[in-house]
Symmetry: none
Subunit: 229 residues, 2 copies
């Protein structure tokens, strides 16, 4: 599994290479935008890690141009590296075809997780279906987002509803702190208790026999919610 690492900062590039090698990938290095394109043309890779800020030349000024260029000819997953305050960079990069991004500085574990995540998402062959959840006669298939229970009709959940239910089922029998749930569903800086409340409501409407007397989704005041095992 080859990973192309594109970064003009050699220290960081070495760190990235070290990290990826440690996780079973074979790193291929490029230290500028033009070099990245050259390397990419002769060496097929499975994923690209691409620093946004990097010297280039006319027509290949920075990481964005590299991203765009690669995207013209390839579907390879691309992860952008950017600094914390450059959220505009992120949006631009994603609109140019990048698949994900990681904010500097980052932990090795986080980076590897992201790489694996984009590989999972982008590979039709490598896609491994998630196991359905089963609790007695209750079933939830995260791949189809389909919920089944006796006494109720099959329900197709929306994206956020499915994310929520999956997280609660993964930790069935526990009450999960609201902040954990929010972070999991909406990301580190997204969401609110109010949004969670509304999502809980919508999910209950779909999966409880009587949403006013919930049996599956429990609340502990001041703490959070959980799925009763």
């Amino acid at each position: 599994m080859k990973v192309l690492i594109v970064d003009d900062d050699r220290t960081l590039a070495d760190l990235l290479a070290f990290t990826m090698r440690r996780s079973g990938f074979e790193p291929i290095m490029a230290f500028s935008a033009p070099e990245a394109i050259r390397v990419f043309e002769v060496q097929p890779v499975d994923v690209v890690i691409l620093d946004v800020n990097m010297p280039g030349e006319p027509g290949l000024r920075d990481g964005f141009d590299v991203c765009q260029q690669i995207r013209k000819t390839s579907d390879v997953p691309i992860i952008l590296l950017t600094v914390r305050d450059d959220e505009e960079d992120v949006v631009s990069g994603l609109s140019m075809g990048a698949d994900d991004y990681v904010l500097k500085p980052f932990s090795p574990r986080q980076l590897v997780a992201r790489v694996k995540s984009v590989l999972r998402r982008s590979s039709p062959k490598g896609h491994i279906a998630e196991e359905p959840f089963t609790f007695g006669e209750i079933k939830f298939d995260p791949n189809r987002r389909e919920f089944l229970r006796p006494g109720g009709s099959p329900e197709t959940l929306t994206r956020l509803e499915a994310l929520l239910l999956e997280y609660m089922m993964l930790n069935a029998g526990q009450i999960l702190p609201a902040e954990n749930i929010i972070s999991h569903v909406w990301g580190p800086d997204g969401g609110s208790t109010e949004m969670l409340r509304q999502l809980i409501r919508r999910l209950r409407m779909k999966i409880e026999l009587d949403p006013t007397k919930p049996e599956l989704i429990q609340n502990l005041p001041g703490i959070g919610y959980g799925f009763k095992a």
Copy 2:
């Protein structure tokens, strides 16, 4: 949930210990690199907080060496403490296996959030449950705030009641000074003896067989309260 705190600055180390204890962790202290390794070898911990700049000895010169050493044998999450301008420190530390870092100076809240975050990331399910407390046939589950004792019905405690009981159980068999209890439950500038009194009353109403003759929660006049082991 045990946290190993490694810092040669004893004042800061004590503050860290206080902060972590307040958030439900049990702090284990080490004040030098060699001591950290010795402690780590005999005491399993759930997370390590590690100051980068710290006196050591050949082979264990500073926090980085500790990090590297620990990483050889363990996947325990490691958080580095470092000063603002040492981004190279961060990269080095991360390349040696640390999971995250916190820049000095930092707020207690930020540190706790980071600790919980790395624990969450390192847990496959994304949630860590706290251990229940058991004293004979008496049980208290802080996750559900549920109190059980023979001869009484199960009680769900409120947030503050649970905070109080947990703190007393963590220090069972001792009389805790009122000001410490108040600080723990309401924060450094919150609370009052009057509020504590009322909270004690409410907790006793829930967990004592006869609240007028308390057996579990004891008072030492002029000092404070404690949970009888």
